[in-house]
């Protein structure tokens, strides 16, 4: 750290020196000109023009004009602009130049960021997808990872709920693991960021927040998604689930300051709202259940006392409409970027406020970023990337928490009054009062996130660079919740307050030595190599306090509570890594590369602490071969193949290998105790993913159509598996390296330039991917999900996230009873007849993105689709109960129940009869019995196609803009989730209510649906 402050001091001294040197010798030539895009004709602003052989340069003005001074002997300009091919323009005698830039083939030719280096995509053997920051605009979602939905092949993104800033599921090429994490590694400007969910407020089984929503998407320049082992092995034990590298915006040398202001306002509502039966219908169904039950019990139905003799007169209270609202979103962003000939900078400020369409949840985010680089000398560069974010949320309960807003409004019977006769809030059964919850929710979660990286880079030789950096990701969440005596959670304890302080800190130190050199005649030989090491430390700290018994509801601090308790824990895990990679290209045609990483982790047993992760790949630029050129068909053709290993250790505890007794929560009669906690496993080590990938990339029709296709085969073995062990051991599971999972798939991306004229440009990007997941080795079935109902199963030979239910074949038209498949044909329905009936994994996911520009107008629309996944509709599971749930109402689908002989329906006869629970086509199994409603009648097809976004923009012509003293201006309107095509009967098919466990995907359970949003925005530069 001392050395760093020294660097800073030197930097200041040097700045003074540099400024003093800025004089101009005589005898220069002044060159002026204009730079435009060859297909649009309009001037391009901000194009970088550098005098060849120097770092001196300028950038173009808003209309594309520039002027630059050449000294004696300087003969050429290098002109570069993001998305266009770089040109070298010779300056012989002329003083005026006009340059038309040609759009580059971004998919095949870009220089992109890879693990610890940047490389031309042409020579990379790995499978890497790139998304530019510009491609994720105009959708009002807080997390950049959510915005990648439908944008790239091989990536599946699902928003778990419609809560703003809420959790998402993001997987690359399927689920690799069962108990370790399936999330990719996110590297933001060199920082390995934490994806640990910091919010502790207990709210059912959903992730409350997306930790990556702390990054403002507007600050992002580009995103690279590293998918295969060749690309990820350099990240060793962190790379098995893929790596997402985010590069934020930086200024460019020699560009004048550009100040940009960006704002939008949006309005959201629910596409569909929950529907329940009205009072008379609820009464009718309840009566019918009572009569049928009496008949089943052999009683005379005439003697039954009806629960509602006058069902028709029951009132109806609509709780649903009170919980939904039209939610507003506001966003403001201000940024500036630019650079001198020695330094560059980017600074951005952002503010986002977003309401949930279900009351009363809100989300608020302030972001600030500063990135800059300084060339201290020709050889030495230093710089930093700093991000500071403050977030605020008021998390509210959902899914299986009966005291959440949606539960209380949805499940309570509709004839029950909202208020008691004396005006107080009425509550029924297990449920709270939704109105009270909305009015008295007092949860505050404030997050402070600092992600920073400071580096120095020294060019020992032009081809040999050493870079050293120190990074930190500090995520602090401070939650203060108060349940007042107006809501159930606070009634009994006379006010209940919880406070949590959660800190997740990642510290990283990294050294990388890079060697890039071409030599030989015609530079036939190119070498790109690096070695490096990192020290990585992850610190998790938590302190919590609880207070009960408050004198008044306005006293919400725990210091004012009658009884208080507290707790604190901390844990540390460390990772030491050494890595190297090298790539050799011959004649721009053949590339061979390899990498290896050695990782040592504190999580594992002393003898198995180190893991080694090698990879290798080959690339053949077949398009460069004469015989391919002679075909006059391919503009580019590349074949690549790779093989490698990567590891995974995330998601297991920091002390998972040690035999431990715990003191946490172990006490009796106010004395502290200890109890066995976990068995030692000295052999615990990494789970390893072996991945092979073959890919082809080509461009045809004069680069108008670019195609990238991949096939991959991943085999993950030595799974870090919580293997169930006999309970008589005193333990329920034992973490060991056991089991294997495969993921195989194909990916296809097409990029087409459909129309390319001066006035009109229309491009289409299409991607589709199919992944097949299978658990190939497992000790025994693992059942979980739906709060102990065990509807999800992991079983050898089947995919993860499989559903395990009784298959309802029909409802017997004679009896009205459900008939289930008797798998073992023993004439009875027992747990042996439960079977796997599908899974939550889509067979295909993909996106279709169109961008059309017509003069000053631009139109974009994105379709996202997924096909083949199932959804367990838990709302129906509870609300089609045949009368067994006295305090829960019905959904209208219950009205389809069997009523008389001959009725054909899939909803069985209403009854609460319970004898003979094993009888097939028996009354007990309609809604109870052995089946206990764990029936396929609530499992639905979750396929959908959605018009994810559509936007229409207008760029105000440059002369009009200039009159307003602006650089540029664009106004737009856009709509998100405007159309959804699906057979799913619930509110929205994009849902995952049990998302805090990666193995229980695909539930829909009292969850905020995806909102439909319309927004209008403005972006101006000065």
């Amino acid at each position: 750290m001392k050395n760093l402050s020294l660097l800073a001091g030197l930097l200041l001294v040097l700045f003074g020196h540099l400024n003093a040197r800025a004089q101009e010798p005589p005898g220069d030539r002044l060159i002026t000109g204009k730079i435009a895009a060859e297909d649009a004709g309009q001037g391009l602003s901000g194009v970088s023009i550098v005098v060849k052989g120097t770092r001196r340069g300028v950038s173009t003005a808003a209309d594309g004009s520039f002027s630059v001074r050449l000294r004696a002997g300087e003969k050429a300009l290098i002109i570069s602009y993001a998305g266009y091919e770089t040109q070298e323009v010779k300056i012989a005698g002329q003083e005026k130049v006009t340059v038309l830039l040609v759009r580059g083939n971004r998919q095949l030719d870009d220089v992109i960021v890879t693990g610890y280096s940047t490389q031309n995509k042409r020579f990379i053997a790995g499978s890497i997808a790139s998304v530019s920051g510009d491609a994720i605009k105009d959708i009002p979602e807080a997390g950049f990872n959510q915005l990648l939905q439908g944008k790239t092949a091989g990536v599946q993104v699902t928003a778990n709920s419609g809560v703003p800033g809420g959790g998402i599921t993001f997987t690359i090429r399927g689920n690799n693991s069962i108990n370790a994490s399936v999330q990719p590694l996110y590297v933001i400007d060199g920082v390995f960021v934490s994806t640990a969910e910091p919010i502790q407020t207990g709210e059912g089984n959903q992730e409350q927040s997306n930790p990556l929503a702390d990054i403002n998407p507007s600050d992002i320049e580009s995103i690279q998604i590293l998918k295969d082992a060749n690309a990820t092995a350099i990240y060793g034990s962190l790379g098995a689930n893929g790596v997402v590298i985010v590069t934020t915006k930086r200024g460019r040398l020699n560009t004048s300051p550009v100040i940009a202001f960006n704002t939008y306002h949006g309005w959201s509502n629910a596409i569909k709202q929950f529907k329940v039966t009205n009072g008379p219908e609820t009464g009718l169904l309840t009566n019918e259940s009572a009569v049928n039950t009496a008949i089943d019990n052999g009683q005379n139905p005439a003697t039954v006392v009806l629960p509602f003799p006058d069902a028709d007169t029951l009132p109806t209270y609509n709780r649903i409409k009170d919980i939904f609202r039209t939610a507003s979103t506001s966003d403001y962003e201000l940024s500036t970027q630019g650079g001198t000939d020695k330094s560059d900078y980017y600074a951005g400020l952002g503010y986002l406020r977003q309401q949930s369409i279900v009351r009363p949840t809100d989300y608020e985010r302030y972001t600030a970023r500063f990135n800059s680089d300084y060339f201290l000398t020709h050889q030495l560069k230093i710089g930093e990337s700093i991000n500071i974010t403050r977030t605020w949320r008021n998390p509210s309960s959902n899914d299986n928490n009966p005291q959440g807003v949606i539960n209380s409004a949805l499940f309570t019977r509709s004839y029950e009054p909202i208020y008691n006769a004396n005006g107080t809030y009425a509550r029924y059964g297990s449920f709270d009062n939704a109105e009270a919850l909305i009015k008295y929710l007092h949860n505050n979660a404030t997050g402070w996130r600092t992600i920073g990286n400071v580096y120095a880079e020294y060019a020992i030789l032009p081809e040999l660079k050493l870079r050293s950096s120190i990074s930190i990701d500090y995520n602090d969440e401070y939650e203060n919740d108060y349940a007042s005596t107006e809501i159930s959670a606070g009634i009994a304890s006379n006010g209940l307050a919880n406070s949590y302080e959660t800190k997740n800190t990642v510290f990283l130190n990294e050294q990388v030595l890079t060697y890039i050199k071409s030599f030989g005649s015609n530079r036939q030989h190119s070498i790109n190599a690096l070695i490096g090491n990192t020290f990585n430390s992850v610190l998790a700290q938590e302190t919590s306090a609880t207070g009960t018994g408050f004198a008044a509801n306005s006293l919400t601090a725990i210091s004012a509570a009658a009884t208080t308790t507290g707790s604190s824990t901390s844990s540390t895990s460390d990772l030491v890594s050494y890595f190297g990679k090298a790539s050799y290209t011959y004649d721009n045609k053949y590339t061979i590369d390899g990498s290896i990483r050695a990782d040592g982790s504190s999580k594992f047993g002393a003898s198995r602490r180190w893991g080694y992760f090698p990879s290798g790949g080959i690339t053949w630029q077949a398009g460069q071969e004469e015989f391919i050129r002679d075909l006059h068909f391919f503009d580019a053709l590349k074949l690549r193949a790779s093989l490698g290993l990567s590891g995974n250790q995330n998601g297991i505890g920091p002390y998972a290998a040690q035999g431990l007794w715990t003191g946490t929560g172990i006490n009796y009669d106010n004395l502290a105790g200890i109890a066995p906690y976990q068995l030692a496993n000295p052999n615990l080590t990494w789970e390893t993913t072996r991945q092979t990938d073959v890919g082809v990339e080509f461009a045809v029709l004069k680069n108008r159509l670019t195609v990238v296709a991949d096939y991959y085969d991943k085999y993950t073995y030595d799974l870090l598996l919580n293997v169930p062990v006999p309970s008589r051991s005193g333990f329920t599971t034992y973490l060991q390296n056991y089991g294997a999972v495969t993921n195989k798939g194909v990916e296809l991306s097409l990029q087409s330039v459909n129309i390319k004229t001066r006035e009109v440009r229309w491009t289409t990007d299409f991607n589709i991917s199919a992944n097949r997941n299978k658990v190939v080795k497992l000790a025994s079935d693992i059942l979980q999900g739906a709060s102990g109902r065990d509807i999800s199963i992991l079983r050898q030979g089947y995919a993860v996230n499989s559903f395990y239910l009784y298959k309802q074949l029909s409802v017997d038209p004679q009896t009205g009873n459900a008939v289930y498949q008797d798998v073992n044909k023993d004439g009875q329905i027992t747990s042996a007849d439960r079977q796997i009936v599908g899974n939550a994994n889509p067979r295909f996911v993909g996106g279709l993105n169109n961008n059309l520009s017509l003069g000053a107008f631009d139109l974009g629309f994105l379709f996202y689709f997924q096909q083949g996944n199932k959804i367990m509709n838990m709302n129906d599971f509870f609300m089609i109960h045949g009368g067994t749930q006295k305090n829960i109402g019905f959904v209208p689908r219950q009205l389809d129940r069997w009523q008389k002989v001959g009725d054909k329906t899939d909803i069985p006869r209403m009854t609460t009869y319970s004898a003979n629970p094993a009888q097939n086509d028996g009354a007990a199994n309609n809604y109870g019995g052995n089946v206990a409603s764990e029936s396929t009648r609530y499992l639905e097809n979750g396929s959908f196609i959605r018009l994810k976004s559509v936007s229409l923009g207008y760029t105000i012509p440059s002369d009009a803009v200039r009159r307003l003293h602006l650089g540029s201006a664009r106004v737009y309107v856009s709509a998100t989730n405007l159309l959804t095509f699906t057979h799913y009967l619930g509110l929205d098919p994009e849902v995952s209510s049990q998302s805090n466990n990666q193995n229980t995907a695909g539930y829909d359970w009292a969850t905020v649906p995806q909102p439909r949003t319309v927004q209008a925005g403005l972006k101006v530069t000065f």
Partner: protein
């Protein structure tokens, strides 16, 4: 120009040094860097080594007991029978109420796992405390801890036996998984034999009775022996041990009835009562109270028990177990809603009276049986026994147990042990008189056999 040149030399030197330093210190401390230990857990090889850890381990065993008695075991003892009905949303309770219990029923699985975890802790105390040489651990404490561990293990195996039938007997702390191999389910008789032998050891080692009621002392072991002998139909032994406890002046039938479940707890009624604190809560009340009072109202007194408790000739002062008005009557045995510190009533002196009454009745000592039954009845303020035949007295004892222990872990186990679950509950399939072995055990344990019918 010169200044810049010097700088360009000095800077890389500094950077190289910085990098080199980082790499060197990194390498040197790498080994240490990769060794991390937790601050809230103990390595298992130093878990029971001195006086304080020995004490902490037996506290850990009580904590285990208190965990499965914080609602789960009481639920198993009531819901499958007729005093308590399902009124909530969680299907594990519906399954118990309907006697359609799948092998992954949350409550049976949790109780089974919690009981065996407690056994493992007790086994550790029994195995390791004798070897502790710390002079701060007195011989009396040593014998007390080991005696308590034997008692706790006995109660655990007893609770397993009456719920699941004969079970696998684990008598050593689990150090490795391989030691589990080859231990099969014992018969119920062998399970009872193990409980008996543990209780005899406990009786020897436990301290004489003092004022303590929330930890095992000699009387607790005798009381459990009485209950064990009742279950195994050793009527004379049941009578013998219950007489010993009833004779102890430490215990009495407290009046009014509700005294024992009204704070302050640890009344003279309790032979063994588990204590909960704000740091170690018992939130069982939450399942009984309606949401208007902050609860979930999942468990509800049945119409039958409500009418019996409210009947002055049957329930008497035991109607204090109920609150609310029809149809929203709820049970208030567990009532510390503000603090969640309700005790668990494991053995009350009233039970010893009813054990002795039943043992005497079975041995045809009818007058003694009626005297014990009347002790319990008169405390509740209901008319004394008028029946005189053995069969009628036994039936009256069945009902007395039902109303006296309406919401404690009794009714279901009583009906199963007396083979009356078919007649009373209509549950004629005797397979369903035992809970299923958890599915995860059936899947992971080659040595276990599932109960019939599951």
């Amino acid at each position: 120009m010169k200044r810049s040149y010097i700088l360009s030399l000095a800077m890389p030197a500094g950077l190289a040094m910085l990098t080199g330093l980082a790499m060197l210190t990194g390498l040197a401390s790498c080994k240490k860097f990769l060794v991390q230990t937790p601050n809230n857990e103990l390595a298992d090889n130093v878990a029971i080594v001195d006086a304080s850890t020995a004490n902490a381990a037996i506290i850990g065993a009580y904590n285990g007991l208190a965990l499965y008695y914080a609602g789960n075991y009481e639920t198993l003892g009531t819901m499958p029978a007729d005093n308590v009905i399902f009124n909530g949303t969680l299907s594990q309770y519906l399954q118990l109420d309907q006697n359609a219990i799948p092998s992954d029923n949350v409550t049976t699985v949790a109780a089974y796992q919690e009981i065996y975890a407690t056994i493992n802790t007790a086994n550790s105390v029994i195995a390791y405390v004798p070897g502790v040489t710390d002079p701060n651990l007195t011989a009396a404490e040593k014998s007390q801890y080991i005696g308590e561990a034997y008692f706790i293990r006995a109660l655990c195996y007893f609770d397993l036996g009456r719920g699941w039938g004969g079970v696998q007997l684990e008598l050593k702390p689990t150090a490795t998984l391989s030691q589990l191999n080859g231990i099969y389910r014992s018969s119920l008789d062998s399970t009872w034999l193990q409980v008996h032998s543990d209780l005899i050891n406990a009786l020897q080692l436990l301290p004489e009775d003092a004022t303590t009621r929330n930890r095992a002392q000699k009387s607790a072991a005798r009381a459990l022996l009485a209950r064990l002998n009742l279950y195994s139909q050793q009527w004379d032994s049941a009578e013998y041990y219950s007489t010993q406890v009833i004779a102890n002046t430490k215990y009495s039938l407290v009046r009014p009835y509700k005294t024992f479940f009204t704070a302050p707890f640890l009344s003279a009624e309790s032979v063994l009562e588990l204590t909960y604190t704000t740091a170690d809560k018992n939130t069982f009340w939450d399942l009984w109270y309606p949401s208007s009072l902050g609860g979930q109202y999942t468990l509800k007194p049945s119409d039958t028990i409500v009418s019996q408790l409210n009947d002055p000739t049957i329930g008497g002062s035991r109607n204090a177990l109920l609150a609310g008005t029809a149809p929203n009557v709820y049970g208030v045995l567990y009532n510390q809603i503000a603090t969640s510190t309700d005790p668990a009533y494991v053995i009350r002196i009233a039970e010893l009276y009813l054990i002795r009454a039943e043992a005497r009745a079975q041995q045809n000592e009818l007058s003694g049986a009626v005297a014990d039954l009347d002790s319990v009845r008169s405390r509740a303020g209901v008319p004394l026994e008028t029946n005189t035949s053995q069969a009628a007295i036994l039936l009256d004892l069945e009902r007395e147990n039902s109303v006296e222990f309406a919401f404690e872990a009794h009714r279901w186990f009583d009906l199963v042990r007396t083979q009356r679950a078919g007649a009373v509950l209509g549950l004629t399939n005797t397979d369903y008189w035992l809970f299923p072995i958890p599915l995860s055990d059936v899947n992971s344990d080659p040595d276990v056999v599932q109960n019939l019918g599951y």
